[in-house]
């Protein structure tokens, strides 16, 4: 395959339409339809309460109201339980609400204003219950005060528990020269996607079932989960993923929070229904990054070799299970990218009355990395070693084992050392140690920090494959049909580039049909930084089938065996003889006439993974690696941290489109800075206090520096042209890098983020008192 487009900076097809405002999002589609009913749901003013009574009679008689629904009005066959992994969340609460995003009732009316007015007339009486917010306390509380009979966990306060046991850490801790024992805390965070959750659900009066238009991470999963919820055959639900105004993992199941309500109303009324959250509802109702408290113990010798880790991570699950692979990931990533011979790493997710914890860029890895990289800096401080050298000494190279027993393989692309060295070089690490490099005598103190990570591509559980469909048109153009979503990450560009090169055609011949269950095959979600690798590979396989067929047909036209034929720039020719070129369109047309099928299914599966009994495993076949380096200025009188430089060197295997790779890196770093120094959710009695952008601060353009990016390419033999993934990794090491720079600047370690002015001033005061 000739790489004409792969590796090039191809402009994303959606870029122009988006910046000129012509691209249609789901809410735009709703605005242009005049046959829709509009939905409004009622949410409780409590984080935990019993429902004593619901009176909808007044609401039902309000103008324009077509339908008012509560749990008892759901269509027959509806289980009233849904969720991205396991169904446990009701569309409408039945007896109890366990967080303030539990809908109690909903209205469908002719206009939104009518729906809002009617929803306000629904009378609900509640018995307020104490809100439970501390997972460390709750995990010892049996039965769980939150779920009286959870469909999966029963009366257990723990949603899921996972432990890696690789040897016995006891002796290692006894023999160690250094034992570090620290608690790390990372906060909940809102995804802060620009587009609120929104959907249109339209019943199909012809064949039954319904169609959903909404921004999605996984149309095929939504199809399956919505059908299951309403007791429909899966074939009867069609899901069309509209262009997403940001998702970052959240819309994997927050989209269900709107589409379940709209679908219930649509099925009841037989009419298309649109439902859009307000920003307030997005904050209160949808999933958040899991807050974690991680007790990390690390044993090392005096040369800085890590001997063992012993980790206990407590994860705030919130009210429902949602995506709850977190304990696996918490234990899996507890040792970072380092060779560690002995490990005991446990992680547990515990139900609370908080918003449910869901997927968010990095899915547990940023939390685990904050703790492990924090330990590395403590170790460097303890031993008086350079933090960079300590990392270089410990990173797992080919043949080394990670803490969970996985052996690192050169052929999967091991670029971490190069990332660390390039990041250190770019940030000027050598200068950091020079006496007097910074004048830190004044009130503003500067420092540099570095942190590194690995990030497995794909979900890490089997089966995790992808299928796609490629159809040739008789004019030599192609429809590439993938179920993946365009979330702004650059799916359309990457898929077009891979398909064009694999087929030997120009980019303009490729149309990507995306995120429509009626025009694509099962391919897993657009999450886990997996689409380029998984769907890219499936695409290569489909294109190979088609080009084989067309070249087979061309043998008869060009009178040369197909191994000597090639397709380049829409022409089929004898290799090296452009004068023999025949337009591909003619070959496809001829093949069609010769009754050769013009469509092919491509598939790809990664190596299957299994856990060993002790939970040692090699769940992840390929890792993206990276090193984040920052330079910050700490104003010691105000506690304000200015991130003055922020750079990331990432080993992506192969950058299919360097523009979008860099875009992901810049976006992830920005989000990482927000999580590290600014973003904070304040809960009180199970209710969110800062449920607007006025009070929930995310960085503005003025709060972040120009992001510097360095692409490193150590190809994985499993990836398409060596590509790995880059969607989530850029955020993973920002927080520990900033913490490290704060230590460099002030001599103080802070083990809890975000490093807000309040937290910084407290830490500086503690230091003052100590001195």
């Amino acid at each position: 395959m000739k790489e004409k487009y792969i590796g090039q900076r191809v402009t994303r097809p959606d870029a122009l339409a988006k910046v000129t405002g012509q691209a249609q999002f789901a809410a735009d589609i709703a605005v242009h339809r005049d046959d829709l009913l509009h939905a409004k749901a009622l949410y409780p003013p409590y984080g935990h309460a019993r429902i004593l009574s619901i009176d909808t009679s007044e609401a039902e008689h309000m103008p324009g109201v077509v339908c008012v629904m509560t749990a008892k009005d759901l269509p027959a066959g509806c289980t009233n339980k849904y969720g991205a992994d396991e169904p446990d969340k009701p569309i409408f609460a039945e007896n109890k609400i366990v967080y303030e995003g539990d809908a109690v009732a909903a209205v469908a009316a002719e206009t939104l204003a009518q729906a809002e007015a009617a929803a306000a007339k629904i009378r609900v009486t509640y018995e307020s219950l104490p809100a439970y917010e501390d997972p460390r306390e709750l995990r010892e509380t049996y039965p769980s005060p939150i779920h009286e009979n959870h469909p999966i966990s029963g009366q257990s306060p723990v949603s899921l528990s996972a432990t890696v046991r690789n040897g016995d850490p006891g002796p290692a801790f006894e023999q160690a020269d250094v034992v570090l024992d620290h608690w790390y805390r990372t906060p909940m965070a809102d995804h802060a996607y620009l587009e609120p959750d929104v959907c249109i659900v339209e019943p199909d009066p012809v064949q039954g079932g319904f169609t959903i238009w909404s921004p999605q991470h996984a149309v095929q999963n939504a199809k399956q989960d919505m059908a299951k919820l309403f007791g429909l055959p899966q074939s009867k639900v069609r899901v069309i993923g509209t262009l997403a105004g940001g998702g970052f993992g959240g819309k994997e199941d927050s989209t269900y929070d709107v589409s379940t309500v709209a679908a219930a109303l649509a099925m009841k009324t037989g009419k298309p229904v649109s439902f859009e959250f307000t920003r307030d509802e997005v904050f209160r109702n949808t999933g958040k990054r899991h807050a974690e408290q991680i007790h990390h113990r690390l044993a090392a010798d005096k040369e800085g070799n890590i001997l063992a880790i012993d980790v206990d991570a407590v994860i705030d699950k919130g009210a429902y299970r949602s995506v709850d692979i977190l304990p696996y990931r918490g234990s899996y990533y507890a040792g970072g990218p380092y060779k560690i011979p002995v490990s005991h790493a446990k992680a547990e997710s515990v139900f609370t009355n908080h918003p449910y914890g869901c997927a968010f860029r990095g899915l547990g890895v940023p939390q685990a990395t904050f703790a492990m990289e924090g330990q590395m800096d403590y170790l460097a401080a303890e031993l008086g070693m350079d933090p960079l050298q300590l990392r270089l000494k410990n990173i797992a190279r080919a043949g080394d084992r990670l803490h969970m027993g996985q052996v690192m393989l050169e052929e999967r692309g091991l670029g971490l050392e190069e990332c660390l060295l390039k990041a250190a070089d770019a940030i000027g690490w050598k200068d950091r140690a020079k006496t007097g490099y910074y004048d830190n005598r004044g009130t503003v103190k500067r420092g540099k920090g570095i942190a590194c990570f690995l990030y497995g591509i794909g979900t890490g559980s089997s089966p995790d494959g992808a299928h796609c469909l490629v159809q040739a048109q008789r004019d030599g153009s192609f429809n590439v049909q993938v179920s993946q979503s365009e979330l702004g990450q650059g799916l359309l560009a990457a898929m077009s580039q891979i398909a064009a090169d694999a087929l030997g055609v120009t980019l303009d011949k490729i149309q990507v049909d995306y995120a429509d269950t009626a025009a694509s095959l099962l391919a897993g979600p657009t999450t886990s930084s997996r689409s380029t690798m998984y769907v890219g590979n499936a695409l290569l396989s489909a294109c190979k089938i088609l080009t084989d067929r067309f070249l087979g047909y061309a043998e008869g036209v060009l009178r040369v065996g197909k191994s000597n034929l090639a397709i380049e720039d829409n022409m089929v020719m004898v290799k090296g003889k452009p004068e023999t070129a025949v337009p591909l369109a003619e070959i496809v047309e001829g093949a069609y006439t010769a009754q050769i099928p013009l469509a092919a299914i491509g598939s790809w599966y990664p190596p299957r993974v299994f856990f060993n009994e002790d939970m040692t495993n090699d769940q992840m076949h390929t890792y993206t690696f990276g090193a984040c380096a920052v330079e910050i200025a700490v104003d010691t009188e105000t506690g304000i941290i200015a991130v003055e430089r922020c750079l990331l060197a990432a080993d992506v295997g192969k950058a299919i489109n360097p523009d979008t790779v860099e875009g992901q890196m810049q976006g992830g770093l920005t989000q990482g800075i927000g999580w590290s120094v600014m973003e904070e959710i304040f809960m009180e009695n199970g209710r969110m206090k800062n449920h607007s952008y006025h009070d929930y601060l995310i960085p503005t353009a003025m709060d972040v520096p120009d992001m510097e990016t360095i692409i490193v390419e150590h190809p994985s033999d499993l990836g398409p042209c060596g590509a790995k993934g880059i969607g989530e990794p850029p955020l993973v090491a920002t927080a520990p890098a900033i913490r490290s720079a704060f230590w460099d600047a002030t001599g103080i370690f802070i083990d809890e983020i975000p490093l807000t002015p309040v937290r910084v001033m407290k830490a500086l005061k503690r230091k003052d008192c100590a001195e």
Binding site: L697, D703, K762
Partner: protein, 287 residues
Amino acid sequence: MAEFFRPEDLQQALSLLAEYREKAAVVNGGSDIVEDISKGKVKPDAIVSIGGIRELGGIREDGGMLRIGGTVTYRQMLASDACQRFRGLIRAVSQVGSPAIRIVGTPAGNLGTAAPAADCATMLLALGAQVVLQCGEGQRTVPLTDFYYGRGKTQRRPDELIVSIDVPSLAPGEGTGYYRVARRKAQDIGKILAGCRLTLENGAVREAKISLGALNACIVRARSLEEAVAGKTAAEALGYLKRTFPEEAGLRESYFREYKEQVTSSAVARAFALALEDAAERSGLWQ
């Protein structure tokens, strides 16, 4: 449903206010009130949009006063030569919200809303500004120090409009400074605001006005600090401010209380230092 009016002259506007009184909402940039109306916190019968009243536009300096008209926007202030001389004011205004807010937002609105964390109002308080109010019966001038009754409450009667904000011109030796502490660099409400106007004479502080925002229900003058620094050398005054928490700051119990206790004196000292620097530079200009 409220009626919407867009009067083109002052008399029209004032008669509307006289008619609707408490039931009228005066709107210009709308950056605060539109949100209140859309959330149903304010339910006016009449919305009186004053942006088209020509008499209320314009910034001019005459009779020893900088006069900022009642419809002047932040962006107009930033572009005004007369305002540039008040560096503290420019600094305060340039930190309000975002470019989009500064295009529509107005200092008169900032005073009228009487929010506790008002950047421009806090600086105006230190500048010794006066508020010129007009109703059908005539005009009156209220010193900004007397303008506020409490959070969201001012001396403006429902039939009055703020027609001008007047700030005494700068004399030789005077300088102004402003400092805000906020959690992010734009689009954020400050946690601590401090404004300062002072007169420097032979290296000593002859007089200083110091204002505080975001520390009380409404913005306040820190008279205890003003009295303490008067007569001190610049360095002594600065040292005093750095270690003194102003007794006028009435902190409520909140997540930020301890933080504000720790940081307020630094913020005040920084505003003061900026004013000192300005005064020194400006006296250089005069010599």
